[in-house]
């Protein structure tokens, strides 16, 4: 790259010199042909420079494209890791901003490489060229240029700060606008129009102030050009009589001035504009990306003697798939009311447990705890006798499977989707499972296992069936279905649960309908003040809360038991 860089700088290095020659040895001394020859030489040098600058692009692509790939990989990896720990729904706007920032990095790095390289080369060769015309020119050009660069460099940190402040203001404004406009109906209905308007107005004002502050500091760029190029021009002109007495020719003076105005000025302008704008965009985007691709915070180690089991991670090996919970407690926050308090429970290997309870009581939290996705605040959960906390990740993934309500179906073949947890499953096994769970209709409609599917085009129920078949096929001994059948009709749900009931291993179903509880060996009712465990009939006999739940879930709609209040009659027009 350096050889080509040298060639590329030739026009900058020789322009003033060749023009000086053309004037002095040619046009001014009455040899126009000789002058023309010098200019043709200048032309040839320009062509060489242009050819050289062509070579930069493939090399630039080799630097920039892999950089983009690496950044994208880091961001994707970290995003998935983070969202696994964060139950909040994905922020699509933030994600697309992230991809835009990667593009900013790609564009600005390319821009910076071109600009800085171009400027450095031009500045060095202009100085060399000017020195070859007369060493007296060197301090006149070099010192102001150095001062200009120093001044500009010193203003870069405050510029970056203001640029960042503007970016933050823009992001806050975008978020506020999206939230407000997304809730327009509620803003009006709640009578919060003035409040929302004031909030938007304030955000617009913050943004406006940030823009103005940035603009004010931006003037430094123009002053740097004045200092670096125009001051030397003025100095040379003022010093010209002295320079000419010192031996410089007319051509030399014109040449020196053309070095400054033809070569150095555009390069310096591009440098200060480029570093001032895209350079700052680059640092800001890098900041954001570093933030976004930082490894997610590792959950704090559980305090010794509570959740800690004393056994080092990696040593445990589950024997069977029975579950035991020993005095398990969990709260989302130390100050928050616990979702689970001191829950002890054991589910035998091969047993089928249904979990029921009002919405919001913490059933999904229990599912996460049983699957080892969340660690309890206190107490121990054992799978096949081995504490979940001591199981190495691969063994945990192999020993249990959790299917959540929101089924994950990715764009790819049906085969890949079904065999997700068991890539070695043959066609026969896949088709058998599809038949068993009621997926045969979809299989026929799509035209076989190798049909390409797209999650967006399947119905919610079909997506759940795909996810369920995937769990059925896995070799895991423990299956946790967290409302995984909520989009199926009752008959399809029954068919699926029957199939899982016959499947060897332990089954925990977070129930969406009471029929799921009727099919289970035992039922855990999560209710305040404390959870209750028993068979369907035991709970019917002993738990008023369960009877209420069953009643509300299953009685056909009709007249409510209580007497109707009598109201005045309205008038039909």
């Amino acid at each position: 790259m350096t050889a080509w860089t040298g060639a590329e700088a030739l026009p900058a290095a020789l322009s003033g010199r060749l023009i000086a020659q053309a004037l002095d040895a040619g046009f001014l001394s009455g040899h126009p042909l000789r002058g023309l020859a010098w200019l043709l030489a200048f032309g040839a040098v320009t062509v060489v420079g242009a050819v050289a600058s062509r070579q930069v692009y493939p090399q630039l692509a080799d630097v920039v494209e892999p950089l983009r790939d690496a950044l994208t990989r880091r961001v994707v990896d970290a995003t998935l890791r983070r969202s696994a720990l964060d139950p909040a729904p994905p922020d699509t706007a933030a994600l697309s901003r992230l991809t835009r920032q990667i593009e900013t990095v790609r564009d600005s790095v390319a821009g910076q490489l071109l600009i800085v390289r171009q400027f450095a080369v031009t500045a060095v060769f202009v100085l060399i060229g000017a020195a070859s015309l007369g060493t007296a020119l060197l301090p006149l050009i070099g010192i102001p240029l150095a001062v200009a660069l120093l001044v500009f460099t010193l203003t870069l940190p405050p510029l970056a700060r203001r640029q960042r402040a503007l970016l933050r203001a823009e992001e806050d404004f975008a978020r506020l606008a999206a939230d407000t406009f997304g809730a327009l109906r509620d803003v009006v209905a709640c009578g919060a129009v003035r409040r929302s308007d004031a909030a938007l107005e304030a955000a617009i004002e913050v943004q406006h102030r940030a823009r103005t502050r940035l603009a004010a500091l931006g003037t430094v760029r123009r002053l740097a050009v004045a200092l670096g190029v125009h001051l030397p021009v003025a100095l040379i002109l003022l010093d010209a009589p002295h320079l000419v007495r010192g031996g410089l020719s007319a051509g030399d003076v014109v040449g020196a001035l053309s070095y400054l105005t033809v070569s150095l000025e555009p390069a310096l302008r591009t440098l200060v504009q480029g570093l001032g704008a895209s350079g700052l965009r680059l640092t800001v985007a890098l900041d954001r990306l570093a933030e976004a691709s930082a490894p997610p915070p590792t959950p704090a180690a559980p305090p010794a003697g509570t959740a800690g089991t004393g056994e080092p991670v990696g040593s445990a090996e589950p024997a069977g798939s029975g579950l035991t919970l020993e005095r398990v407690s969990f709260a989302y926050h130390p100050q928050a009311e616990p979702v689970l308090a001191d829950l002890s429970l054991s589910v035998a290997d091969g047993e089928h447990l249904a979990v029921v309870g009002p919405s919001g009581i913490g059933k999904s939290t229990l599912a996460n705890l049983l699957a080892g996705l969340t660690s309890p605040g206190a107490g121990t959960i054992r799978l096949g006798g081995a504490p979940l906390a001591a199981l190495p990740a691969e063994r945990l993934h192999a020993a249990r499977v959790l299917i959540p309500q929101e089924a994950y179906v990715f764009a790819g073949t049906l085969r890949a989707n079904l065999g997700y947890l068991r890539p070695d499953a043959g066609s026969a096994a896949l088709e058998r499972t599809a038949d068993l769970l009621g997926l045969d209709g979809l299989l026929r409609r799509l035209g076989g296992l190798d049909a390409e599917i797209d999650g967006g085009r399947l119905s919610a129920g079909e997506r759940q069936l795909v996810a369920l078949a995937r769990a059925y096929l896995s070799r895991a001994g423990l299956v946790v279905l967290d409302e995984a059948t909520c989009h199926l009709d009752p008959a399809a749900e029954a068919r699926v649960e029957e199939a899982f009931h016959r499947r060897p291993g332990t089954l925990v179903v977070i129930a969406h309908r009471i029929s799921s509880a009727q099919r289970a060996d035992r039922v855990l009712l999560m209710d305040t003040p404390a959870p209750v465990l028993g068979t369907h009939h035991e709970l019917l006999a002993h738990s008023a809360g369960y009877r209420r739940l069953v009643g509300h879930w299953s009685t056909p709609p009709g007249l409510p038991p209580q007497a109707l209040p009598t109201g005045p009659r309205g008038a039909v027009g």
Binding site: T92, G360, P565, P568
Partner: protein, 573 residues
């Protein structure tokens, strides 16, 4: 006749003119700075020529003074314009943003039917800055053109041949640039497609993150998401390749023109027609005359500004829901509908409906989906206006009421409430001043059965809304609590308990009975229990009231009972 696009273009131009007028002082500063700069810049090469010639002729001293003064003037003028340009843009962006935000809020619910929230946000955060740049783009383009023409004229004054050379060279340059734009836009399209594919895959994976997390298939998913990288790399390199092409062409164009100019001028120097100083000036004027090639950027910006202005004008042209000016007299909260008709997209949603919601009573709206229930609910608190007919609250037409009187009088709770505010508590008190007290908000949360899960959130009532993981049922209960805290003589519950399990719904209904005693209630009901608890049921069918009677009386009709039959699939949909 006015065709819509022509009208849009004209209203966009009108908006740009208004923007220019609003930012007139700032635009004037920019205009003056650029005009002064243009004049100074055009005189500068001539002054340099005179100074150089004077120095070479051995009569220096005062000859350099005009040049140095002009240099100082350009530095000053350019420094001012460097600030004034973004300052002017920031000012007109802020005033456009303010107008757009205020009008969007005034559009209210009909507005969110015409434009979706993402679209409105996009218009506010990107179209406003784009069209805000219009004043400075116009001024920059004008002064750029002036300088170019001035440069050409100056060349012609030095030597007419110089101008001829330049005029012949320019078409070649523009052709090269046009070719570049076409090629780049093709590769850029491919690039954006690959980017979109990657983002789509990432969003897919984030939707299924619980599955991925549970299955430990994270590395596999990263690879799946990154598959479009190869396409991205290919398109990226194609873009660099076309940049290389254009670089080759343009890097030859400018020097070729400059050398030709120098040659012609050099002959002039030889023949005494031109002085050495004028040769230097000719090089300078060549650059100035070619400057308009660079000002293609500001023309492009002008095009973008017009497009942005058109998008803003479209929103501003949509009619706002104008409030009336009458106060609301004290009253029990009787709502009367007179001959109310709503037509949407050619479909009659409500057809001359007349109905009285008696003061202090509960009226349930029942009917198939699409029968006009939610439309009627939205009319009741003037979230939208009917196409004809009238609604009166305690005798006053809703359209004549001041917004500050109407909004506090009517509370709404929705099936999918959009919750706004910093914390959970703030979300419950989301309204203009005067707001309900924190204690009222907590009492309302207890009534809505939301207190329990709120206290389980990290930080309880002070939990940031963005950090509160919430199911649909929990959000609904917050929405109900917000409506209770808001209070008013009329409360509209639009399917506000649909995501609650039946047990919770019953408890919420009973609590509402107590909390809203004395308020008039309009309830969109899907479950028989809700209808049964109402004093009166309005059975809507095809946009008309089919019957108005208590639930018990209507229940005799099998068609009425059929409204509550469970759906064959997807029971919770």
């Amino acid at each position: 006749m006015d065709t819509p696009p022509a009208r849009a273009a004209r209203s966009a131009d009108r908006l740009l003119l208004e923007g220019l007028r609003a930012s007139a002082p700032r635009a004037a500063v920019l205009l003056v700075a650029l005009l002064v700069d243009a004049v100074a810049i055009l005189l500068l090469p001539a002054a340099l020529a005179r100074a150089v010639d004077a120095v070479l002729a051995g009569r220096p001293d005062s000859a350099a003074v005009p040049f140095l003064v002009l240099l100082a003037v350009t530095v000053l003028a350019e420094t001012v314009s460097q600030f004034a340009d973004p300052w002017c843009t920031a000012g007109s962006t802020a005033s456009l943003s303010r107008r757009l935000a205020r009008h969007t809020l005034a559009l209210g619910v009909p507005g969110s039917r015409w434009f979706n929230a993402g679209d409105l946000t996009g218009r506010l955060i990107s179209s406003a800055p784009e069209s805000g740049a219009a004043p400075s783009a116009v001024i920059q383009a004008t002064s750029g053109l002036l300088v170019s023409i001035g440069g050409l004229v100056a060349l012609a004054l030095i030597d007419p041949w110089l101008a001829v050379v330049l005029l012949l060279g320019v078409p070649v340059g523009t052709a090269a640039v046009r070719h570049f734009v076409r090629r780049v836009s093709r590769s850029a399209g491919d690039y954006q497609l690959a980017q979109a594919a990657l983002l789509a895959k990432l969003l897919d994976a984030m939707g299924g993150i619980r599955t991925i997390h549970a299955a430990g298939t994270h590395p596999l998913e990263v690879e799946r998401v990154l598959t479009p990288l190869t396409d991205l790399d290919r398109a990226g390199r194609a873009i660099w390749q076309s940049q290389r092409q254009v670089q080759w062409r343009t890097s030859l164009l400018l020097p070729a023109l400059q050398i030709t100019v120098i040659t012609v001028a050099g002959y002039g120097v030889g023949s005494g027609r031109t002085t050495p100083g004028q040769l230097l000036a000719a090089v300078g004027y060549t650059g100035l005359a070619l400057g308009f090639l660079g000002s293609a950027g500001s023309l492009l910006g002008l095009g973008r500004a017009r497009a942005g202005a058109a998008r803003i004008a479209e929103v501003l042209a949509a009619p706002a829901l104008l409030p009336g000016s009458r106060p609301l007299p004290a009253g029990p909260g009787e709502l009367v509908l007179r001959e109310v008709t709503v037509v949407q997209d050619g479909r009659t949603l409500l057809d001359r409906v007349s109905l009285t919601v008696p003061a202090g009573r509960t009226l349930a709206l029942v009917g198939r989906s699409g029968s006009g229930k939610s439309t009627l609910a939205a009319l009741a608190g003037r979230l939208t206006d009917p196409d004809s007919g009238q609604l009166l609250l305690d005798g006053v037409p809703l359209t004549e009421l001041r917004a500050e009187e109407l909004r506090p009088a009517v509370a709404y709770a929705f099936a999918r409430p959009a919750l706004l505010g910093a914390t959970v508590e703030d979300a419950l008190r989301w309204t203009d001043e005067p707001r309900p007290s924190a204690e009222q908000a907590r009492a309302a949360a207890r009534s809505a059965e939301a207190d329990g899960f709120i206290r389980r959130l990290p930080g309880g009532y002070d939990c940031a809304l963005t950090a509160a993981p919430m199911s649909g049922g929990e959000a609904q209960r917050l929405g109900i609590a917000r409506a209770i805290a808001h209070g008013g003589r009329l409360v509209v519950l639009d399917d506000a308990t649909s995501s609650l399990d039946t047990a919770t719904e019953n408890r919420v209904d009973e609590a509402l009975e107590r909390a809203l005693a004395g308020c008039t209630r309009l309830v969109v009901a899907h479950r028989p229990g809700t209808a049964a608890r109402a004093d009166l049921v309005a059975w809507l069918d095809g946009g008309s009231v089919r019957a108005l009677a208590p639930h018990a009386a209507l229940w005799q009709d099998p068609h009425y009972r059929a409204l509550f039959a469970p759906m064959p699939t997807g029971s919770e949909s």
